[in-house]
């Protein structure tokens, strides 16, 4: 079963131990900002079950930003979606890598507020939450540029300048 990836801010998902006022087993309301929907749709990226495309997806997403930055993400099994009876469709996404945009972008559609909350609970409980450092993000983008997966000229100036030094 494949995975689904959503960029987040890890600190919004800290558990009770790190946020004293938070009851055990609950998550911070601000975490819902990381699941901001548009037209009741939520953008996600699919990662193969062997994770062989994970770094390429991360590079594509990070390269689409204004500045080099860390990349925090939640990675959860597609089972989470199935168990919640949510509808997942393949659509074109926005990233710096055309193949990633076409092949691996997914959207959850027809999301109600209660379903979104269920999804958030699923992510809180089941997802791996990881951080790629800014330095490693740049390395991933540089590798993708070298492999011609990402077009250097499409990068924003602040990222392009750093990548040019790396390649």
């Amino acid at each position: 079963m494949a995975f689904l990836l959503r960029t987040i801010r890890k600190s919004k998902w800290y558990k009770h131990e790190g946020v004293p006022w938070l009851p055990a087993g609950e998550f911070q309301a601000d975490a819902l900002f990381d699941l901001k929907t548009e037209s009741n749709r939520l953008s996600l990226w699919q990662v193969k079950d062997d994770r062989s495309n994970l770094n390429r997806v991360l590079a594509a997403v990070a390269a689409n930003k204004d500045h080099p930055s860390n990349l925090d993400y939640a990675l959860f099994n597609e089972d989470t979606i199935l168990s919640l009876n949510l509808t997942l469709v393949q659509t074109d996404g926005e990233s710096a890598d055309n193949e990633v945009s076409v092949m691996w972008h997914r959207e959850l559609i027809e999301l109600s507020a209660s379903r979104l909350l269920q999804l958030a609970k699923g992510i809180f409980t089941d997802a791996e939450r990881e951080r790629v450092s800014e330095a490693n993000v740049l390395q991933l983008i540089a590798r993708a540029v070298k492999a011609r997966e990402i077009d250097l000229t499409r990068l924003k100036e602040n990222i392009r300048a750093k990548i040019e030094k790396l390649i």
């Binding site: 790190g18 930003k65 204004d66 500045h67 930055s69 990349l71």
Partner: protein, 275 residues
């Protein structure tokens, strides 16, 4: 300024009652979050020191200078505050000229409380107002890593325009927790990205101080700001923060940044010294 030779006063208890026993200029040492520091007592009074000790806010003992130039690149000063108006202006000037790493917040305190007008020029008044407005309005913005916002652009412009004055005012807002933690976090992420050597020390200081914030979100942002700043001088304070951090995830992220600094070519910080 001449200091007497070390009298080897050890601070075993770090209790408030200990500090008033120090004499001005007396050499002593203390265990701080970033390791043992030797220093000189500059001036000690009971009240504020006790208050800070009770809060466990070890980074902010008033009326003490802690220094040891041989102990590493991190500014060893904990804080210098000259709230006693009898503290002479010339002493303040001497201290600041002797120890160039004294934090900007420190300079500000001396300016305000000891009327040491010659120590530091007056800050443009509009900085406080502009920053206050900026921080207030930012509460309505949604932030995403790596993406510019009106807030980030305005904050960087302010720092580019006013330099250390702007960082000092931001420091006051953040350290006194007058800012929404989410907005403070965004500010800390961005100040690490400003490419300006003239404000590097003051930005480093604010980021290092914020590693000890009560807000886990602010601490996380401080780590990210330090990673962007990429200044190995943060190693000592980062090590101290790691020792204190109780959130496993955050501690691991701090360790990742620490490794980044250690990986900087050919530099090792074993025993807090470059080799």
């Amino acid at each position: 300024m001449t200091f007497p030779s070390e009298s080897s006063v050890g601070d075993e208890s770090r209790s408030a009652s200990f500090y008033p026993t120090l004499m001005s200029g007396q050499r002593f040492w203390s265990e701080l979050p970033f390791g043992r520091r030797h220093g000189y007592a500059v001036h000690v009074t009971q009240g504020p020191a006790e208050e800070h000790a009770e809060k466990g806010n070890m980074l902010f003992y008033d009326f003490l200078v802690l220094l040891d130039p041989s102990s590493g690149p991190l500014p060893s000063v904990v804080t210098v505050s000259f709230k006693d108006p009898t503290f002479s202006q010339s002493t303040v000037s001497q201290l600041i000229s002797t120890f160039s790493w004294i934090s900007p917040q420190t300079s500000k305190s001396s300016h305000e409380e000891a009327a040491s007008a010659t120590v530091e020029r007056e800050r443009p008044k509009e900085i406080h107002e502009n920053l206050h407005t900026l921080l207030s309005e930012a509460r309505d913005e949604l932030f995403e890593d790596g993406m510019e916002t009106n807030f980030s652009k305005a904050l960087i412009s302010l720092i580019q325009c006013y330099g250390n004055d702007a960082v000092e005012v931001l420091t006051e807002f953040v350290v006194s927790e007058q800012v929404n933690p989410e907005v403070a976090s965004e500010a800390l992420r961005w100040i690490g990205r400003v490419e300006d050597l003239s404000t590097q020390q003051s930005r480093l200081w604010l980021l290092g101080r914020s590693l000890f914030s009560a807000s886990s979100r602010v601490r996380d942002a401080a780590v990210l700001g330090l990673a962007s700043l990429n200044d190995p001088e943060a190693v000592l304070v980062l090590e101290a923060a790691i020792r204190r951090e109780h959130i496993d995830e955050l501690r691991q992220d701090m360790e990742q940044v620490l490794n980044q600094f250690r990986d900087i070519s050919g530099v090792s910080f074993e025993n807090n010294k470059k080799v």
